[in-house]
Amino acid sequence: MATLQTRATARIMMSPAVILLFLWMIVPLVMTLYFSFLRYNLLMPGTEENIGFLNYQYFLTDPAFFTALANTLILVGGTLLITVIGGILLALVLDQPFFGQGIVRLLVIAPFFVMPTVSALVWKNMLMHPVNGLFAWIARSFGLQPVDWFAQVPLFSIILIVAWQWLPFATLILLTALQSLDGEQKEAAEMDGAGAISRFIYLVLPHLSRAITVVILIQTIFLLSVFAEILVTTNGGPGIQTTNITYLIYMQALLQFDVGGASAGGIVAVVLANIVAFFLIRLIGKNLER
């Protein structure tokens, strides 16, 4: 139906966005790939030379890499666990009719709009501070020993902060999916004598499965690159206990000026993210056909 002329016009209209995005993707990526095979440190200019896969070898055999990989997985997994389970429960509550539902909904989604540096610092200081923080006061008023969050359980503390930021996202998406559930189906199940729990397991959960998958995949993409929360709270420490892959590469690049090593790490991070992206793209692509 589209005539040759409109097709040509369409191409012209698309080209600026497509060309720019293509350059944005390909130029830095090729540069990263190129640097990753060089010995290249900004502190020693003029000593650049091709060293093959040595950067990769150093990066992948560095014990810090395994710690960072484990931290990344724990951070992503822990946050997903809290946000998905919490999100389902919250969505179920928000789906019930009650007084002031709209306002509660606004309160629940608010953390998503708080910039990462603010939420990290507010939690670290005003809530989790071992002496003056609110949690410490609550613990003491119950006669308990306050937890020194960032000294005793640093990674868990960061998981809590990140989960607080992402819980609204999971809740909102699951709630949207929940509201599209056919009311008649629920009533039919109710009349057939299905209890609340079996209704949830056999009706609600299967209906939510797609939305849950979307939440998991999208959050994983973002959580793999958690950065600001670590930078302003622990700087990756104590030691490297809260260093994730993103932070490890950042340290190598901008604190040690090791361009080659950081680039090799960057390529590793790209590969890891692509494994997740592969599934996400397929899922959304399938949706596009319907």
Partner: protein, 276 residues
């Protein structure tokens, strides 16, 4: 069958709902309250909840000490600028994809989405070096460019899903009546597309406002937006909780309000139309 929502269950859920809502919102509320305390009251134990001497001193201090409005302006310029440039690039592209789709349209959309999956840290090194060599480090222009490219896929996708919902027959009717392409866009398409464009804009300003990888790595003093400004409070010497709270309140208030208005679009935008 009228759903058996008894008054009792409604009351029970009101209590549960409000308790959860309050707990989740509490850190923000606490920041807001603390911003009106003196530094002494802010760290007092037991904590003072409402009955303290409210003061506006912190807000004045934050401005006079560290020029809050400079960073606020940077945030506005960077988030609005990148969103507007993104829209200028994305509107024609999304229009073409929605109204004259070809076999490759879907592939292009999927490819755009895939660029969003690339972790920023993977291109940190080259981008940092390019910025250094071109004198773009710590400039607003540089950040606007980066954030435009980061959010462009989301903008194209959101606009595409909105444009898709505009019935093509209306455009054909206009074309039959002899409307030129320009007229078609200005008089027919734009009025129908404005709500979609507006919500796309809103969501992308929010995302750009809160972006905290590139803004932290590519700016120092001059072009630093609020993310970087707040991060400067992380220095261990001299924690000023009340001032941190005042600065934080001002940094999140405008975007929180915008966010509340765009809550419906949030789902669509962030799931690339997978959940509506």
């Amino acid at each position: 069958m009228a759903r058996a929502t008894t008054t009792r269950s409604k009351i029970v859920f009101t209590v549960i709902g409000w308790t959860i809502g309050f707990l989740i919102f509490f850190p923000i509320l606490w920041t807001f309250l603390t911003s009106f305390k003196t530094e002494g009251t802010a760290i007092a134990t037991p904590p003072q909840f409402l009955f303290f001497d409210w003061t506006l001193e912190n807000y004045r201090e934050v401005q006079s000490r560290s020029d809050y409005f400079k960073h606020f302006t940077n945030s506005v310029v960077i988030s609005v600028g990148s969103t507007l440039i993104g829209l200028a690039l994305a509107i024609p592209a999304a229009w073409a994809m929605a109204f004259s789709p070809t076999k490759r349209t879907k592939d292009i959309l999927m490819w755009m989405l895939s660029t969003k999956m690339m972790p920023s840290v993977g291109v940190l090194v080259p981008l940092y070096l390019i910025f250094r060599d071109w004198g773009l480090l710590d400039t607003r222009i540089g950040l606007v460019a980066v954030l435009t490219m980061i959010n462009l896929p989301i903008i194209v996708w959101m606009l595409y899903t909105y444009f898709k919902e505009i019935p093509g027959e209306i455009l054909e009717a206009a074309r039959m009546d002899g409307a030129s392409l320009m007229k078609e866009i200005v008089y027919v398409l734009t009025p129908m597309a404005v709500p979609g464009i507006a919500s796309t804009m809103l969501l992308n300003i929010i995302l750009a406002w809160n972006e905290a990888f590139w803004t932290l790595n590519l700016t120092a003093a001059n072009a630093a937006p609020l993310t970087q400004f707040i991060a400067s409070y992380s220095s261990p010497e001299g924690l000023f909780w009340a001032k941190l709270s005042a600065a934080s309140t001002m940094a999140i208030a405008p975007i929180l309000i915008m966010g509340w208005f765009s809550q419906k679009q949030l789902v669509r935008g962030l799931t690339f139309g997978a959940v509506k």
